[in-house]
């Protein structure tokens, strides 16, 4: 099972926080909550309330037929109309998911027939989405309601939380311009700013304000950088979150072991090969990104594994590789203070990516001592079967590194351009 920390930005399907669950969970992170209460950011009793989400249950798609009947009987009040949701979990912002609404078409009501109807719909959903799907979520259908958009995000320019509110039901990009953006000026007293929210479509804004406040407080408790309800269904005075997206900020994951445990228990998820490799690298203690190993954009270009120290230098390295008509396949950040063994592991990791034609090591040692990099490279180079390698080494202990490399007859460069040229030459020679 994958560690939740690796997949911090995965989306959650609308999973209800029931009253008992939230109460239980809150015990685990008393420190932070106490801190927030002390600083008047959340009222002390607020994290004990449930959220208005539709009734529903998550079913393993392997046992769909077996469980479906139980679920449908248990939720008899679903009134023979349900919504089926699936979600393909993805990193980053990629949205993938589907929803299907099943209405029972025969009379009188026959549970078996209804079950088969739902499972057919679920299978159809599976076929529509390419990614592996392990679970479906069956929930009650909200009827006769208007769709809205309500979310709490962080506004990075004002460095304040922001509530976004307006008509919804579509992708948020399409709604741009129709939405009200309310920046919470006073973090400890959001009510003042929330008063700026204006009603849409004759909706009673007071109840939406209450809900926005609730989302605001919860995003502090659960360290959410984004708490998005799209759509938010409003019918008269009944409000329901028909779909929720919660993104927990990755750095705060350690504070919520209960949620991770629950997440790991609930979700069945098989990571892709790239995700497995990234997770493995994180275990070893460096950050690693799989960029384009299959050469989707430039299939003819040689794939290069990159190692650099620092994210900025990594980006520039990739830019330079593209400029020299090479294709960066992956990128590994050798963190400052890494020693020989760790760097050896890192070089192994980038070189073992399938479809690699060469590697480029670009280090500008600050905290990182570059003689360690030279040592590591000399230790692993013989096991690579003459894999082309461009070395660009500069910084702390540069002289020692160059002396060592020279003794072994390895060329290294002080500038990135010549290093890439060198690498390119080696690749050409290898082809011949």
């Amino acid at each position: 099972m994958v560690n939740f920390a690796e997949y911090f930005s995965k989306e959650w399907m609308s999973q209800p926080f029931s009253i008992s669950d939230t109460a239980k969970m809150s015990e685990g992170f008393r420190n932070w909550t106490d801190y927030l209460i002390k600083h008047d950011i959340i009222p002390p009793d607020l994290y004990l309330q449930g959220l208005p989400v539709p009734n529903g249950r998550l079913i393993d798609s392997l046992f769909l037929e077996e469980y479906l009947q139980d679920v449908l009987i248990a939720t008899r009040e679903l009134n023979s109309e349900v919504a089926i949701k699936i979600q393909v979990l993805k990193k980053g912002r990629g949205r993938a998911g589907g929803i299907k609404i099943v209405r029972y078409d025969g009379k009188p009501f026959d549970i078996n027939r209804y079950c088969s109807q739902v499972s057919v719909a679920a299978r159809e959903l599976h076929e529509e989405y390419e990614g592996p799907i392990y679970q479906v979520y069956v929930e009650e259908l909200i009827k006769g309601a208007k769709e809205f958009y309500l979310s709490k995000v962080t506004d990075t320019s004002s460095k304040k939380p922001m509530i976004v509110w307006g008509p919804g039901g579509m992708e948020v990009e399409e709604l741009e311009g129709k939405l009200q953006k309310i920046i919470i000026d006073d973090i400890t007293n959001p009510k003042e700013s929330l008063r700026k929210m204006r009603g849409v479509d004759g909706i009673d804004i007071e109840s939406v304000r209450k809900l926005a406040l609730e989302m605001y407080h919860r995003s502090w408790i659960f360290d959410l950088s984004q708490f998005e309800a799209n759509p938010l269904m409003i019918a008269g005075d009944v409000i329901t979150f028909a779909d929720l997206k919660l993104i927990m900020s990755g750095d705060a994951v350690y504070r919520h072991p209960e949620i991770i445990e629950r997440w790991n228990k609930t979700w069945k998820y098989q990571p892709t090969i790239a995700e497995k490799r990234e997770a493995r690298a994180k275990e070893m203690g460096f950050s690693y990104v799989v960029l384009d190993p299959t050469g989707e954009i430039f299939p003819d270009r040689p794939g290069i594994g990159c190692a650099a120290n620092g994210a900025g230098l990594g980006m520039v390295t990739c830019d330079e590789l593209y400029a020299h008509e090479l294709n960066p396949s992956n990128f590994c950040d050798l963190r400052g203070g890494s020693t020989k063994d760790k760097i050896m592991q890192a070089i192994w990791h980038i070189a073992s990516e399938p479809g690699i034609d060469g590697i480029l090591i670009n280090v500008h040692g600050g905290i990182l001592r570059v003689d360690e990099v030279a040592k590591a490279y000399l230790a692993v180079k013989n096991s690579f079967d003459n894999l082309p390698c461009g070395l660009r080494i500069i910084g702390t202990n540069e002289e020692i590194a160059y002396a060592m490399l020279k003794a072994e007859g390895v060329r290294a460069h002080r500038d990135i351009g010549p290093a890439i040229e060198d690498l390119k030459r080696q690749i050409e020679m290898r082809k011949v």
Partner: protein, 309 residues
């Protein structure tokens, strides 16, 4: 001169007993930074003085005690983001630095080196600093260096390319500001101050704040901004330059020309979300505001020479 940090600026090191804190304190003292005292956050560490190659640095168990005995106007934070076992949190150290006031003896600038501070915590701290009229730099930043005078953070200050001069350099990324400083030095331009923003999505001091500081610094004659993909800081800066009629020449370099949408390189802030975060958008907005953008490393010398002579 330069900004924020001078030869005689008294500096307090928060987390001096830690691995990173100790290592870099030694280097800062060697460079000549005026470190007056350190603060310990480890419950089991009871040293009250640490010897760094002959220089004895007093260590206190909290910042207030230190400020009673010594002056410090800048604090640099090496405390890890969260170690529940020791009840050690960077946010507590930063908060302490912001609010402690011993008979008017207070910290004015807090430089946060710590990585992995949750976004929400940073938001509270930045808000608090703003209310108190103080400066926070970072989190997740490499520090500040005024070449030839002093440095704080994790910058490889002993490198020869950090040379006194008149370019003000501000960078979102650590290694990239070393890389470009080296390039400037090669072309014959030293730096007045090399400062950093930090790689996180929410940060205390942005490009605009730095431009405002450089504006009134006599030594700085031109400013170089080193940005990267993600966020819309560069666009806001372009707007600021246009609106304020910024007198000094400004140059820019943006990393991540070829980065794909949604991929995170290691900086939480450097992730393209929507159009405004892309390289193209940033470069065109900056060029519209009259800021020359270095397209690659090789063009740096040529552009600087054309504009500055």
């Amino acid at each position: 001169m330069g900004i924020l940090l001078y030869k005689d600026t008294p500096v307090a090191v928060l987390g001096v007993t830690g691995r990173e804190g100790g290592f870099h304190t030694k280097r800062m003292l060697e460079y000549g930074t005026n470190i007056t005292f350190g603060v310990n956050y480890k419950p089991h560490d009871r040293r009250d003085v640490i010897d760094f190659n002959g220089k004895k640095l007093p260590v206190y168990q909290n910042l207030g005690e230190g400020l009673e005995n010594y002056r410090a106007t800048l604090a640099v934070v090496y405390v890890p983001a969260g170690v529940p076992k020791y009840n050690m949190y960077a946010r507590n150290a930063i908060e302490e630095a912001l609010v402690t006031d011993v008979n008017g003896n207070t910290i004015e600038t807090v430089v946060v080196i710590t990585e992995f501070i949750p976004e929400n915590e940073t938001m509270i701290l930045v808000d608090k600093a703003k209310k108190l009229g103080k400066k926070t730099i970072g989190p997740n930043c490499p520090g500040i260096i005024t070449p030839g005078e002093a440095y704080v953070g994790v910058i490889p200050a002993s490198q020869k390319y950090f040379k006194p001069g008149y370019l003000g350099v501000v960078s979102r990324s650590g290694t990239l500001c070393y890389e470009l400083s080296r390039e400037f030095e090669k072309c014959g331009y030293g730096q007045s101050t090399v400062a950093s923003l930090g790689g996180d999505a929410v940060i205390g001091t942005g490009f605009v704040d730095y431009l405002e500081l450089f504006r009134y610094d006599k030594k700085t004659r031109a400013v170089v901004l080193i940005g990267e993909i993600g966020g819309n800081q560069e666009q806001q800066t372009a707007e600021y330059i246009k609106k304020s009629g910024y007198e000094k020449p400004v140059f820019a370099f943006i990393a991540g020309r070829t980065a794909k949408e949604g991929k995170r390189f290691g900086h939480a802030g450097a992730i393209i979300l929507g159009d405004s975060g892309t390289w193209e958008n940033k470069v065109t907005t900056l060029e519209d505001a009259g800021v020359p953008v270095f397209r690659d490393m090789n063009s740096i010398g040529r552009i600087l020479e054309e504009e500055l002579g």
